[in-house]
Each structure stands twice: as C-alpha cells, then as structure tokens.
Assembly symmetry: C2
Homo-oligomer: 330 residues x 2
Amino acid sequence: RCFHMCKLPGRVMGIRLLRFTSVVIIVLLLVAGALTALLPTIKDDKLPNSRREPKTQSQSALDSFTLIMQTYNRTDLLLKLLNHYQAIPHLHKVIVVWNNIGEKTPEEMWNSLGPHPVPVVFKVQTVNRMRNRLQNFPDLETKAVLMMDDDTLVSAHDLAFAFSVWQQFPEHIVGFVPRKHISTPSGVYSYGSFELQNPGFGNGDQYSMVLIGAAFFHRGYLEDFQQQPEAVYALIDETQNCDDIAMNFLVAKHTGKPSGVFVKPVDIRNLEKDTNSGYSGMWHRAEHLLQRSYCVNKLVNIYDRMPLKYSNIMISQFGFPNYANHKNKM
Amino acid sequence: RCFHMCKLPGRVMGIRLLRFTSVVIIVLLLVAGALTALLPTIKDDKLPNSRREPKTQSQSALDSFTLIMQTYNRTDLLLKLLNHYQAIPHLHKVIVVWNNIGEKTPEEMWNSLGPHPVPVVFKVQTVNRMRNRLQNFPDLETKAVLMMDDDTLVSAHDLAFAFSVWQQFPEHIVGFVPRKHISTPSGVYSYGSFELQNPGFGNGDQYSMVLIGAAFFHRGYLEDFQQQPEAVYALIDETQNCDDIAMNFLVAKHTGKPSGVFVKPVDIRNLEKDTNSGYSGMWHRAEHLLQRSYCVNKLVNIYDRMPLKYSNIMISQFGFPNYANHKNKM
C-alpha cells in the first residue's frame, strides 16, 4: 500500500498521508469513545428493580404498575388517597372506577389542580357493581395491577417493597390482607381470619387467600375473570361482595398453588372513620362474614372443586424499618 | 332375551332367573362398593408437605433431609445437639464429619445408647479441613441437605418451617444467618452483617449470602462444589474459613439470582459457652472478619466476576409462635 503512495511526489504524498492518517486516527478515537460509553458498568451485584428511577411515561410495562381504585360515596377519601398514591414510586397510571352513578366525576377539579405525577383516568360506570373494578380496562399498559380499596392507605415503603416481591412472584396475588377458609366435618366451608381455628397442619396458622383490596396481581387475571361462568358474576352481584374470593379461586385454579403471597405491612391504615360522607364500608353489614362463607361454598359448587391452597409464608422487608429487625439473641 | 328364557318351563326358569339376577345384583353392589372405596376424598385444600408423618426409612427423597454436621474439639456439644436433632421431623439421616484426627468417634457409645430415631454415620477424616463437610457423601439419599455448625441449636419448629420453605425454593440456600458484601469506590469489596452500611437501594438493608452453618440446600451443590477451580480449595484451606462464602458464590453463579433465602429464626442458640472443651469457634479469631473480606475479593478474582446478588426478602412463619403475629393496627 505504501508502495503505491510512495510513488507520489514526496511532499504532496506526505500531506495527503498526514491528512489521511489523521482522519483515520480521529475516526478510531470516536469509535473507541463510543464503545467505551456503551460498555456495561459492572452492576452484577445491583438489584435493578430497586433503583429509584425518575418517573417518566416511558417506564417499561414490567417496571411499573397501574393503580385501580374503585370508589363509591367517599369522594373525600378518594381525593385524599389520590394525593398519596399519585406519588408512589413505579406508579404508571391511576384508573378510578367511578361507581357514583349519575354523579359527575371530580375530573375537572383534578385537572385544575395539575400538573400531576401520573395520568388519572376516571371510568364512569352505569351500574353500581362491586365487580366493576374487575373489568379488563383497555387503559391498562402495565403487567402489574395494584388494586386498592378507596378507604385504605398503605405507605409508599410498603408498596415499593410489595411491588418488588410481586416481581418475584408474578403469578400470585401479592398483598397485605390474608384470609383463610377452613373445612368442617360436615364438608361445609367457613371463611375467616386468624380468630378462626387453624387448618390443623401443626404449628401456627395458614392463609389461603390474599384480598385484592390491597394487593398486586398480574393484569392477565382480569382477562381471565371475563371468562368465568355466569354464576360467578351472579353471585358477586347478588351479594355485592366476594369478588376478591372469586379472584383467589381463579388464581389458585390457574397456578395449582396458594393464590396469594402475604407481605406484612409496616404501615397500613383504614381511613373509613375519616370520611364526611357518613358512609362506612360494606364489611360493616351484619351479614358480611356469613356472606363470605356462603360465597366460598357457592364457588366450590360452581367450580366443582376447592382450588384454594394453604400457605404460611409471611414476607417482611429485611432491615426495615428497623435496620436490625432480623437480629436474634444467638 | 326374555323370549328365550320365557320358553323354559315356568318354575325352573323362575328359580334360574332369580339366581341369575341375585348374582348380578351382588356383583354390581360389590363393584359399586369397590368404586366408592377408591373415590379420592376431597383433599385439594390440604398442604401435603406439612402433614406430620411417622418417621420411617421409606421417607421419600423429596420429603426428608439429611443433616450434615462437622465437628472439631467439641464432642460434648455434638452429643447434646445430636440428641436434639435426631428427633427433628422429616430428618432422614445424620452425617457427622469427624474432624478430630486420630481420635475415636463416639460411635460405640452412640450405639450402646440406642435405639435412635434415625441412622447416624460418622465420617472419619484424615486431615482437619473446614471444607471436609462439603464432600459429595455417598451416604446422602435425600435431595435436601441441612448443614449445621456443631455449636448451633435451632428449634424443631424453625427447622420444620425452613424445610417447607426450601421445598418452595429448592435452588436456593434457605437458612437462618444472612450476611452481605458491599462495594466500595475503590472496587474492593468488604464483608459484613447489618452493622455495615447498606448497599444503597433505598429503604432497609440487603443480604447477599446465607451462611451454610445453619441452612438447607440442594445436594446438587455438593456435587458442583467438587468441580471448582483448585484456587478455591486452596483459599479455603489457607484460611480454614470461607467455605460458606464459596458456596454462596457457587449458588449465585448457578442461578443468576440471590443465592439465599433468609428465614428469620424464632429460636436459634449458640452453645459455644456451654462446651467443656475450652475450644471456641473459629469466628473468635482476631482476623476472622478481615479474612472473610479477603475471601470475597479472592473469589471475585478467581471467578473473574461478582456473582452475588442482593435480596431483602425476610420470611417468617404466619401465625407462629404468636397466632396473631401478622396483625396490624388497621
């Protein structure tokens, strides 16, 4: 190569060569610079999901979740909670299921008090149904759904941690409120919490459901819910209750495992008493718990099996809030 | 059909018919009875693994575990612990790794004090090495190994629960003692527990190792351990330390996930002070922790990467020991 070039008159060749090699060197430096910038930093030991990222619309479908909150007759609580939840890390969007039939949503007021960290969509309903929140909303862009009752406040720390747990157990309902069913010798099931006898496996208690009023689950289960027997919808509509029990049946059937993973909340609050509406939740109705036992048995009839399975796994956050919360006298 | 039969003389035909139909009916009843007996009882809601079963040699390889306990110069503690551990539910066999070179094992005395719930095998070693306990013992018949230090007492309740957790996370080291490494700006790693700064992911602490001196893990990892670079064995032999750190590197490399799952123990005790031998554990040596930081960095060199990953999942048993241990002010 130099051969050919070397034939050119000495000085001209020299300048041309100089120019040529300079360009080559500059190009090589640029390429090297680009490659260096693209080199992955050694991050093997960092847990990618826990890093705090600025909230943007481009948060991937896997790294963020959609809050679905159904509301009836407690708009003051709704707005208080929206102010809290709109700023939760990894939140992508809020869907408010508006069960106040015929009443205007607070959308105008919401917009006038913008900007807001995330979009909030008000889905106006035509009938006040408990199962309205279980529609397969086209507004959903994330894999994960966070479903919250409109009177429940869970701290950002709890939600951030529970979301990271859901990411490790995406086929489960990962949430803060565990419940169980028990069998009785008659074959009739009963529904309850820890006050109910344990299912008899030795030590401690077991849970077989995690309530969806404070939990993360995969949006695929909303799709699945649309494919259930009519009798399930009729049951939920008849009782205005039990949509969460039905969801646990659905998930347990799908996975063949316990439907839920219980994350022990550090700071969860019921704001019912704070409402000015005078309306207190459905669970205050006298027949509420009896209805839920009724629902368990009806669902076993409808599905012709008891798919719920027990778990005794309780998950907490290592070193939080007390950095030595795992210590023992050794 | 009756046509043909009806042709026979009335009385004879009648008796034959009677006999025939009786036989048919009896056969049908027997078949129905057999079918009823074979019908599965509705057991969908029972968790098979938690049921207390009588200990027999025929406990399947999946439903039981082998305890491997290495011992040096603390035979009094060993025997105290053997009396405790021999009666743990789901225990299949005990392997005692006898590091008291040249000294007779207590096998004779053990046998004279039989019968025992499970077989105990004493593996006499020729050299007192920390990594003796990580051999791929042919005596192992179960998938799960429980490895315990010879000065650590963990309650049966804790072990039964942790074993059930291991069965749900069989590729992890499921145990009671979490530790972590941290990066420093110099690129040099340090080893420690919660007193060390957290790795900086926001709230709380993280762990990246679960020590094998009180943990369940899959026997496959003992096989894997035999395939490691010579430098790893040299490191462990040089320090008489760090075999557990090496195992965590191995597991993390294998899974690409955090190596361990931490189960918070309710009742774990260090019996060191109870020994008459005057011998206290290796971790009392002045250089112990510095050695372990040294090991982390050496292993990163040997493997040319840092495979350890962080987790902040802490698992406890729902409703045990306090049946309301999951309750919150709501």
